[in-house]
């Protein structure tokens, strides 16, 4: 997995490429934990994300809870396979997917 980070004022964009699974999810978790205090908009660009497992979903859930307090979280470029996972787990109802 690879994460590209773009900070733009109060917006933080993380482009996640590859697999978000048991081994790589902690990396994204750490990236989100170290988010600047001023960030009130977190954008997760998933256009290069190929696979997500429950470990990845848990990180998204924690991030969503955190951003509910601080501002908003948006997912972009979600592919069909990943969308399928969001749908069967009910995450498509919790997350803001553009």
């Amino acid at each position: 997995m690879e994460i590209k980070k773009i900070e733009n004022g109060n917006e933080l964009k993380l482009a996640v490429a590859g697999r978000l699974d048991t081994t790589s999810a902690p990396e994204l978790e750490a990236e989100i934990a170290s988010m600047p205090d001023v960030t009130d908009s977190l954008v997760l660009d998933f256009s290069e994300l190929e696979y997500i497992s429950s470990a990845g979903l848990r990180v998204l859930l924690a991030a969503q809870k955190k951003m509910n307090v601080k501002g908003k979280m948006t997912l972009t470029g979600v592919n069909e396979d990943v969308m399928d996972v969001f749908e069967i787990t009910g995450f498509s109802d919790i997350l803001t997917i553009e």
Binding site: R19, D21, T22, T23, Y51, S53, S54, A55, L57, R58, D81, D84, V85, I88, T89, G90
Partner: protein
């Protein structure tokens, strides 16, 4: 372009080629498949005149290369060969490797060889590595340079002998992609390969070799979907089995996924099924069973794929505490497992080594 007639090759210990016959036309892309030891490499080496046949004829553009009077070196120029091992010159950089044959053998000017060489490096996606030395490159990059070097003599046909067999699985894709793009450009090629998905996608024709001959010859659809002869059937439809064991909490998860994807590619397992296998392996073996095992884990996963009925069955055997229904799993993991399988069954085996077993039919 190439006619092979009653080709026979005997060695002291073995006779890999008994009676090989084939007509190969310009623009054909032929995959040569078959069990090991059936003479695939021997056939390529005979065509390239690296080996003299015991009897029979090989005509290239009408000239018989088995004829003593034939100018082998001239004919060999019409052909290029790419081997499993890349054999680059270690003391020359990438572009010098590619320029060597055109300058030394074909008498091209250095400028001409350089321009063509750079063009070829662009084709294989390595123009930015022109001045790198071979030991600075990955295996996949080396093989792409070897392909560019072979193309530099402008061969009319290129023979590949298992071009990806010596590569790390993560690098197979990039080399196959280069070969595929050459096929699109209309280059005549013969490729010995074990990559069945690739063979199906890229070839205009498939030779299945066995019993000392081209045992079955046809389009990829004919050979892969409707093989006529018994041995071809067995080879194509044989059950494909993938096995992995988790024996430590810190096992290499990434490596297992890479092997699983490699297995899927080799045996034409649909991408969706591979995804389901990855999901079940991660959610059930790694997320659910692994934390249940105190001490040294021992979880064995077997995936059986049958091409004949396109079904994939997974069996997971393990020791330690039992896990007897999806309801005991984390809800997220349970949802993902449920979405990947059409059937799931839990069973006690009675064996001391692996007392518990879970079987799944994957989607």
């Amino acid at each position: 372009m190439i006619s092979i007639r009653h080709l026979r090759k005997e060695y002291e210990e073995a006779t890999p080629l008994l009676d090989v016959n084939a007509e190969i036309e310009k623009g054909e892309v032929i995959s040569v498949i078959g069990p090991s030891g059936t003479g695939k490499s021997t056939l390529l080496r005979c065509i390239n005149a690296l080996e003299s046949p015991t009897s029979g004829q090989i005509l290239i553009d009408g000239e018989d290369i088995t004829d003593k009077n034939c100018k082998k070196h001239l004919l060999r120029r019409k052909m290029g060969m790419v081997f499993q091992s890349f054999n680059l010159f270690a003391h020359l950089n990438v572009i010098e490797n590619v320029m060597k044959a055109p300058v030394d053998l074909l008498g091209k000017s250095r400028q001409e060889a350089y321009d063509r060489g750079m063009e070829l490096l662009r084709t294989v996606g390595l123009a930015d590595k022109a001045t790198a030395f071979p030991d600075e490159l990955s295996g996949g990059q080396k093989q792409r340079v070897a392909i560019a070097r072979t193309l530099a003599t402008d061969p009319e046909i290129v023979l590949f002998d298992e071009p990806t067999s010596a590569l790390d699985p993560t690098m197979v894709g990039e080399v196959l992609a280069v070969i595929k793009s050459l096929a699109k450009e209309g280059l005549t090629m013969m490729i010995v390969t074990h990559e069945m998905k690739f063979a199906r996608d890229v070839s205009t024709r498939v030779f299945y070799m066995d019993e000392g001959e081209i045992y079955e010859d046809g389009t990829p659809e004919q050979v892969f979907d409707h093989p006529v002869r018994e041995k071809t059937r067995q080879f194509i439809r044989r059950l494909k089995v993938f096995e992995e064991s988790i024996t430590s909490h810190g096992f290499d998860f990434l490596a297992v996924n890479t092997r699983l994807e490699e297995f899927g590619r080799r045996h034409l397992v649909p991408q969706k099924t591979v995804r389901c296998a990855e999901t079940v392996f991660e959610e059930l073996c790694v997320q659910t069973l692994l934390p249940l095992s105190d001490g040294e884990p021992d979880i064995r996963m077997t995936l059986e794929y049958s091409e004949e009925n396109e079904s994939a069955d997974m069996r997971i055997s393990y020791g330690g505490r039992s896990f007897a229904s999806l309801g005991e799993a984390d809800p997220l993991s349970a949802a993902l497992i449920g979405n990947s399988a059409t059937e799931i069954a839990f069973r006690e085996t009675g064996s001391a080594e692996y007392p518990h077993e879970i079987t799944l039919k994957l989607k």
